[in-house]
Structure formats: C-alpha cells, structure tokens
Amino acid sequence: MTCAEATRNIPLYLYQELDFPCEERLETHLDQCPPCREELEKQRAVLRAVESRQWPVDPQLLDACRRELHSRAASVTAERRSLRFRLLDWARSGLPVMWTWRPLAAMALLAVGFFGGRLFDRAAPGFEPALLRVRDLSPSPGGGVRLVLEEVRLRTLTGPVDDDKIKSMLLTAANDPANPGLRARTLDILKDRCRQKDVRHALLHALREDPNPGVRLKAIEGLKPFAREPEIRSVLSQVLLADDNPGVRTMAVDMLVEDMQTEVIGTLQELIPRENNPYIRQKSLNALREVNASLETF
C-alpha cells in the first residue's frame, strides 16, 4: 500500500468501514510508516474537534415536539373519521359490504336495534317473527326465480344491567353503527357505571369516535365525575381541539378548566385562535387570565 492509498483509507479505517484485507494492509503500512501514523492521529483529532460541536437535544424541545405531534395526529384521525363514516353511510344504504365481515351476533343486534324499544320491557324471553333479507337471486327452471334468504330471529333478553351477558350486549350496542338512537340510549344506561373500566372505555371510545353529536354528548356527560383523571383529561383536550360540535366542546372546556392544570394551558392557547364559538373562547380566555398564562401561542 502506498502512502497516498493509506491516506485515502484512513477515514474509513477510523469509522471501521474497511473490509478485513484492506484493514490488514493499512495496519501493516502504518506500522512501517511514521508520517502516515501522524496523518492518522491528525485525522482522528479533526473528527474529535468536529464532534465537540454537536448540539445536544434539549428535552424541552423534544417534549414540545411530542405534544404537537400528539395533537396533529389526533386531527389526522379526525379527518379519517369523517371519511370512514362516509363509507359507513354507503354501507348502511343496503349494500352487502357490511355482511361480509360483521359477525352474526352483531347482525342480530342490528335487528334488535331496529326494534330496540321493545327490548327491555318484555317480560319473558321468546322469539319474534324472523326478519328476512334477500341475499341473492337467480332464475330458476320454468320461468320462476330462486331466492337466497337471510333470516334473522329476534329474541328478547331481560335482566339486570350488571349481568355479564347483558352488559356485554350493551357494550356492543353502544357501537351499533346503524342506530345512533340506540347508541345514545345505551350510553345513558351505562353511564352510571362509569367506575367500571370497560364501561368507561366505551364512553371514551364513543366520545372520540362516534359520528353522532348526541351520542358524544351522552358520553361526555357520563365522564363528568372523572374529569380529574389524566386519561380522561387527555381525551377531553383532544375533543376540545378536534370535535366539530360546539355543545361537546363546551362541556369539554367546562370540565377542563374546572381543575386548571398546566397541561390545559397549551390546549387552550392552541384552541383560541381557531375557536369561533364565543362562549368557549371567553371561557378559555378567562381561564388563561386566571393563571396569568399568555393568551395565545404567538
């Protein structure tokens, strides 16, 4: 290896990026050549000097980045949500897309939802006449038609709300895409049991995801007694920034400023420039003034 080749290989050697034979030849050369050894040390010193100018990452900056990303990702989710529900409307219009992936039990609940008013005041369990749905048809020999029917039987179930089976049915009904009225009434029943983790989760889920503002209002109402809990507060902040319904946002802001914590300040500062509802704006401004926080983020 010549001195010129050695010099060229030194940086890669320092980064341990030379292949083995090449490294061997360089080391042999370095052993015999004091000027190249000097060059090696020189280059090492150069890299060390450059290293010392590295900017350390400020933990506050990292934190600011994470918080901002959290709220931006939430608004991406909100955009997706509206798209998703447009698809859902299409599915609801009777196209068979839903049936390909929804389990049979959920299908039954769709039917129950349809007759939901009767569900809880039936005295004894029994069978209702079947619901029929034509799934397919084809011509049959002799000029007739051959139908493939889907039958859904209705059954009533009566029992205490805390019964496991009833409760799990209720949790499913809280997500029934076809019937917002049923979802709202279900949450109304469930909301008194918000202490239970799965119920609370259903309420949080509805508050974030339900396309119907009436249902979201029921959900947020149910969460009111727990407005001091961090998990709930973080959802409330997201809702305040992302929900398009002023009623829901009003409840969210009321619940958040009730117990003014530092994390609320950032949310309110972000909210004010874009909030067009006078009550919510005023409430936010007052809350910020009370803690002497700046009113806007710029």
Binding site: Y15, L47, D58, A64, E68, L69, K197, E209, G266, F298
Partner: protein, 206 residues
C-alpha cells in the same frame, strides 16, 4: 371502531411490552397509543439528526412534525421489507436534504438567512436558541469554532447527511446508503469527501 371491544382491548396492553413489529402492526390498525410508543423509541435520534443538520430548533421542530406525520399517514404501506429505522430515516433524510437544498439556494440568493416564515405560532413552545452550553464548547477557541461552522457549511447536503449519520448516529454506511436510496459505495464516497474537506480546513489548526 365498530368492533369496539377488540380495539378497546389493545389500549390496555402496556405498549412497552410489545415488540416493535407488534407495535407497528397495532399502529397500522390505527392504535394511536402504539403509534406514540413507536415514535418514542425513535424520535430522539430523528430530532438530534435534524437539530445537528439544520442547526435551528425551529427547523428541527418542523422536520420532526413532518417526518412523523408522514409516518402516521403512510404506515399502512410499510411492508417489513426493511427495518423500520431504515424506512423512517428514508423519510427524515429526504426532508432534511430538501430543507438544506432550499436553504442553500436562499443563501446564494441573498446573504441573509431567513427563517421558514409562514406559521409563527410556535415561539412560546420552543425554548430559546442555544439552550445548553456544552462545557467542551467553551474550551474551544472562537477561531476553531468558526472554522468548523464554515467547513460544515461548505459540505454538500448529501455529504453533511452521510457524515452526521455515520459519525453521530453510528449508522453503518450500508444502512445509510439504503436510507438515501443509493449504494454503500456512494455513501462511502460522500463520507470520504466530507472528511477530506474537514481535514483540509482544520488540519493545520490542530
């Protein structure tokens, strides 16, 4: 969302307990908690790269947001045919390169370096520039510091990027090449040119 129970269940699994591949799959299904855990495993590196390359916390902040929002929007297209880190660095390096190129053009057009402009609402969430004073930096003479800044400015965006990733992030040249959509050999040449320029600028000073 319609299968409420299934989705609800994932939120109760401690995210840290899941292996990265599981986290990615969960995030691909729309689990935001999983997405955020994924972010937290990699975001310090991303921010450090952006800070060092762009030397501006404002710009680094923007790159951070843009990088992870792209990840969020496009995660469903990730097919596990390279490591997640490589995929992520492909996104962040492209954004940084664009940024450096634009800045270079701006710099050539006028001598004053302007900030990105547009949105100006982040001033209060961002700490002031140069928040930490590195003790080593104090020891270094003004002159040497000036030279280092100048030589880093003289590197092409690509040379800067390869140098940062190899030197400060310890990434192998092969992985760097993969992230930049080029070969290991090309990355090697970039690194070589970068170190040459530094050697020339600083060698007689040290």
């Amino acid at each position: 969302m319609l299968t409420g129970k299934g989705e609800a269940a994932t939120a109760f699994i401690p995210a840290a307990a899941l292996a990265e591949a599981d986290l990615i799959r969960a995030a691909q299904r729309g689990d935001q908690a999983a997405f955020e855990s994924l972010v937290r495993t990699h975001d310090q590196g991303v921010l450090r790269l952006a800070c060092n390359l762009l030397r501006s916390e404002q710009d680094a902040f923007d790159i951070y947001q843009e990088t992870f929002l792209r990840v969020y929007r496009n995660l469903h297209t990730f097919r596990f045919d390279c490591s997640f880190r490589t995929w992520l660095y492909r996104i962040v390096t492209n954004l940084c390169l664009d940024h450096l190129r634009k800045r270079k053009v701006r710099k050539e057009e006028s001598t004053t370096l302007c900030t990105s402009g547009g949105e100006v609402d982040r001033a209060s969430v961002l700490p002031a520039e140069n928040p930490h004073v590195d003790p080593q930096r104090n020891l270094m003479s003004q002159e040497l510091r000036g030279r280092i800044e100048r030589v880093l400015d003289d590197l092409t965006p690509r040379e800067r990027l390869v140098f940062e990733m190899r030197h400060f992030h310890g990434m192998r040249l092969r992985a760097i090449g993969e992230s930049l959509g080029t070969t290991e050999e090309a990355a090697k040449n970039c690194l070589f040119r970068a170190t040459q320029k530094m050697r020339t600028a600083l060698g007689d000073f040290l």
